[in-house]
Symmetry: C2
Subunit: 396 residues, 2 copies
């Protein structure tokens, strides 16, 4: 465990040296995290979120897919290789943090302080899922994120709703403020939001074209009620920045009716960002938008910010990751230039200047961040084999 940055969750650094027959000039770095999302809504779980439960060939628990299954598969692969004659074929390092789900606010402190201990030639990122047709997915980047809380207060107390004829209503104010930021065709209307976005390179476009996307299977899996909002969903997941209302609360919303005019409204807003965008700049754009559009009573707070990242796809480590996966899984392997999700990859990538690719033991219905999170035991076992194979090929 590294010396703590005050107030942060501990960060763990583990190093495994190459065995006597190994190549001690090469080092592979793994990034994982041990924190998880909150388990609510609890009533939608079929088993206790923090009791690992086996059912139908799967393991269910909060965090089993995101990201403890991957961490255990990797440690198991290390153990297997260590027990072989000659031990590990190269050096291996692990950095395991505990604040990924809140945007890794203190990771940069550790990376800067312990940069000399982290030197490596390539990095394997925390997690990946198989897709709806069980194809293996690898990712060479992440989207960034600006996660914000918006609050509007209109009065000291909830009022009788008869006062709606004369009094401003926090729920209406926040509703209109949000509607001014994105229209009902999903165009983000905040000035400066799309500025500086890097157009995809030819090699990136080429990889994106090969990403399959079975619209009908995904719609059925999630029970989607509406058509997709993007013409090319596979491209949109990689290239399009987002603005998502993650939550909204105001006034009375229980059973039946209560005629109140709410004193306060709160919203959580998550913007996923692509290379060229900067979360602090996006936050400032939204703040300016609110003021310029007459919503200075809507207060905004930046809760998390993470930069976007894409590896150089022409690096040989990227091909090695694809090839080893094809060999182990004997199925189609898809590489995405960046995940639609987020992680602190930019902190590593910019500091260490190495390619970073994510692989993992999730499946299409792993339900990350939702009730009944799971992995399949078969994926877990194959994941161990894949990691062991990567390490041996990487060491050559």
């Amino acid at each position: 465990m590294l010396d703590e940055c005050p107030g942060s969750n501990p960060v763990i650094l583990a190093t495994f040296e190459a065995g006597p027959n190994g190549n001690s000039n090469k080092t592979l770095l793994f990034y994982n995290h041990y924190d998880v999302q909150p388990p609510d809504p609890l009533e939608e779980w079929d088993s206790v979120p923090f009791d690992l439960t086996e059912r139908d060939g799967k393991l269910f628990a909060r965090g089993v897919a995101d990201n403890k299954g991957d961490l255990m598969a990797r440690l198991t692969a290390i153990e297997v290789l260590q027990n072989l004659a000659g031990g590990l074929p190269c050096n291996v390092k692990f950095i395991i943090e505990g604040e990924e789900e809140i945007g890794s606010p203190n990771l940069a402190y550790y990376l800067e302080k312990y940069k000399h201990l982290l030197q490596a030639d390539a990095c394997i990122w925390e997690h990946a899922d198989r897709d709806e047709k069980d194809r293996v997915q690898l990712m060479a980047g992440v989207k960034g994120m600006a996660y914000m809380e918006l609050t509007c207060e209109s009065a000291d107390m909830d009022l009788h709703s008869k006062l709606g004829a004369i009094v401003e209503n926090a729920a209406w104010r926040l509703n209109h403020a949000l509607s001014s930021m994105k229209n009902n065709e999903n165009e983000i209307l905040v000035e400066g939001f799309y500025d500086g976005i890097q157009p995809p390179t030819e090699i990136e476009k080429n990889y994106i074209t090969k990403i399959p996307f079975d619209q009908e299977a995904i719609k059925e899996l999630y029970g989607l009620r509406q058509p997709f909002i993007a013409e090319n969903p596979n491209e949109a997941l990689v290239l399009n920045p987002t603005m998502t209302i993650c939550g909204f609360e105001s006034g009375y919303y229980g059973e039946g009716s209560k005629t109140v005019l709410p004193k306060k409204a709160i919203a959580k807003l998550d913007c996923r960002l692509v290379p060229g965008q900067n979360p602090e700049h996006i936050f400032q754009c939204i703040q300016s938008h609110l003021i310029k559009n007459g919503y200075s009573d809507v207060k905004i707070k930046l809760l998390n910010s993470v930069g976007p990242y894409r590896s150089d796809l022409s690096h040989p480590f990227v091909s090695l990751m694809v090839r080893t996966a094809e060999e182990i899984y004997q199925t189609e392997v898809i590489l995405s230039p960046n995940n639609a999700g987020t992680g602190p990859m930019a902190d590593f990538g910019n500091l260490l200047q190495i390619p970073i690719v994510s692989t993992g033991v999730g499946w299409v219905n792993s339900r990350l961040h939702a009730p009944n999170e799971s992995i399949r035991i078969s994926d877990y076992v194959e994941g161990i084999a894949h990691i062991a194979h990567i390490i041996r090929e990487f060491a050559r």
Copy 2:
């Protein structure tokens, strides 16, 4: 207690006959209710909501102002008059229901069935408050109400917010649907909403002009953060229909951040209506608006509906109410053609064809429907005297 309409809360009818020296040709009807609003949010109460608590010359409890204080004051006045030589000076009837706060859905059943028992010459309505300068307020009508629940479901489960690039979001859908119904200048954009509104008569306008409204006092009392949304608040409270978001809930809104894309959003919407508007018609207009504007995925349910009502202000009973109040309270008395609030007055008014005026023991900070609801003991005592005086003058 009247024979029950199946599934409804009981309705109580009480009749008190004129004493030997009374005028048995005249009958005064009182309308009250014994149900109350839910007490939440409980943590904002300074005493237990359902333990009547005396503090600083006031009585605190859920329902003490709306409407049990009035009911007790009226019964006490009857008791006083009954104990005088000659007993009650005229016949008195009470109808007391238990579903006012949910829009009196079953009252029409009782009124129709027991119309013959309800015959009276005038009616005193449930409640009124003193205003911010302690002036006595009487009301000769009510606004109507259409209270609706809007629900949007976009998926079977909450999703990882990275899917915001491709998947519709119930919170955004409902947000945009609501914004399409009322703009940020508080103009209601639903076609047909304002149709048929009766312009005020000369006598109504005259009464409205005399209604005082101390903007600064009201702003301070409620801790309002924004200017009033109407140029003439006193006129707006009587004449303007409203569309109020009473509540909105979607996704995650607890401490910190959770990156979900909500599967469902729910809103409660309260429209207060004026004479000429009809709650069922308003509901249909909103339903059509949603479909016409591409929000057929937003489901809408009418939870309560009450019609608007205004008495004929030229009836002598209206003047009697004003005069007796001036005599008892020795202060300015204001008559409003209709309350900004709602009650099932239209059911009585249209059926019995009698003038209906409301008076009561509330004060400006009674906090109806909110935590720390209260009445002042001095208002309660004067309220008893006023009711007794009304009955004696009415019987002449």
